[in-house]
């Protein structure tokens, strides 16, 4: 390969050099280094299978050099390709070193040639594809398609397990209840408050708050406790609002309350 190097050089006409130069200006028009290589390869005017990769590498490196002198920024992948081609070039020019690992220069060159040929083949195929008779251009579909009415039929299904679970759910519903607090013996503060508000107007004198417990809540200790607590809390609330006064003579003595009149201080 090294021998025909100079011959190739001589063969390059001025016109081709000019063409290569023109490419520099148009670097944006290339779709990557492989596209550029393919374009450069056309100057060789040979079948891609017989292309001289060495010559192509030189053309490419020249291109990159020119771009540099013209201060054209080249994308990184163009530079990576340049480095790789420089490496390839040295491999192709130097006699093979038997101690060296890895593929030979010829193998690398053959692969690059294959890539170029494959890219070219895909471009040709793309052109052929686009030249096919095409729907809406060369042949046509029905112009008035008749709409297909969709009739949707729904069928319902259930499994035996669904059925049994459904029944089990029903039959065991009464056996237990979800988290509901038993409120039968609870007299809430809201209830006590409502009750006190209604009664307080008549309480001009000190009265034991126990006398305000609702009827029916005095006997059962559970109910009594709840009602007492609620009534006491309610009376505190009313005192806070300035509606009543509360007093207790000593610890555990009865708690008394009376209406707070405007006149009282």
């Amino acid at each position: 390969m090294a021998e025909d190097l100079f011959e190739e050089d001589r063969e390059r006409s001025v016109a081709e050099r000019l063409a290569a130069e023109a490419l520099i200006v148009d670097v944006d028009g290339f779709e990557g280094p492989l596209d550029l290589l393919l374009t450069l390869s056309r100057t060789q005017k040979v079948d891609l299978r017989k292309i001289s990769i060495l010559q192509l590498a030189r053309q490419y490196l020249e291109f990159v050099e020119r771009a540099k002198t013209l201060r054209i920024e080249l994308a990184a992948d163009y530079l990576v390709m340049a480095a790789w081609l420089a490496f390839l070039k040295s491999r192709l020019l130097l006699p093979p070193d038997p101690s060296e690992e890895g593929p030979s220069g010829e193998e690398l060159a053959a692969h690059l040639a294959f890539q170029l040929e494959r890219l070219q083949a895909m471009r040709d195929a793309a052109a052929k594809l686009m030249a096919q008779d095409r729907l809406g251009r060369n042949f046509f579909a029905r112009g008035i398609p008749e709409s297909v009415e969709r009739v949707r039929r729904v069928t319902f299904t259930a499994t035996l397990l669904d059925l049994m679970q459904g029944y089990a759910r029903l039959r065991t519903r009464d056996e237990f209840r979800p988290f509901v607090m038993d409120r039968e013996s609870v007299f809430t503060m809201e209830e006590a408050l409502a009750r006190l508000r209604g009664l307080i107007g008549f309480s001009g004198t000190w009265t034991d708050i126990m006398s305000y417990l609702p009827t029916g809540w005095e006997e059962d200790p559970v109910k009594r406790r709840s009602a007492t607590a609620a009534t006491f809390a309610a009376s505190l609330e009313l005192a806070k609002e300035g509606k009543v006064e509360i007093r207790q003579s000593e610890t555990f003595a009865p708690i008394q309350l009376r209406r707070k009149d405007e006149g009282h201080v």
Binding site: A131, D133, N138, F140, A141, R142, G143, I144, E146, S147, V148, E149, R150, V151, R152, R153, V154, T155, F156, T157, A158, T159, L160, L161, D162, L163, M164, Q165, G166, Y167, A168, R169, L170, R171, T172, R173, E175, F176, R177, P178, F179, V180, M181, R183
Partner: protein
Amino acid sequence: MKAMSEEIEQKEESLFEAPPIAEQERMCEAILFASAEPVTIKELNARMPHGCDAAEALVHLRKRYEGRGVHVVKVGDAWAMRTAADLSFLMQKETVETRKLSRAAIETLAIIAYHQPVTRAEIEEIRGVSVSRGTVDQLLEMEWIRFGRRKMTPGRPVTFVVTSEFLDHFGLTSARDLPGLKELRAAGLLENRPPPGVMALGSSEDEEDESLEGQSELFED
């Protein structure tokens, strides 16, 4: 592309000589097929090479489609192709969708299966809610339940029983094959009850929100 330019040449030639009638028929066929609207004879003639006689071509085309799945029909003063009226039933696509029965339907069905013959009032008593007409209708329509004998009680209410289609669907020989509560429990179908006594005090404010539905959801999975 080549075909197209040949055709253009032919078009120019045809200023002097019209294509054979069979070819004209083909042209009418293609135009009527592809056109989004019915096409008048005038328009056909305008689109076909000079010297063509669309009216004559249509006579042939019409005859060719006689008795076929597609007809050449006149729409106003224009022509179109339409599928044959007797094949209109083909212009619908049936899609079958399978859905799970609603819970109300399953529960109603279960009660009928376990308690048959059973009246609507009895179903309602067991479910604790009224049974909607739609639910019963759906089960009747599916032919999984049918009316049984009237009950010899005041008002002689109708009863419901399950059908042999029901037994077929669920792979049962008779409704007596349905597992009982004990077996359901043994099979682990009733195990998901909440442990008793774990009442959360603070969370009980919204108890009135809880309906029967909400409650039994707890046991579902």
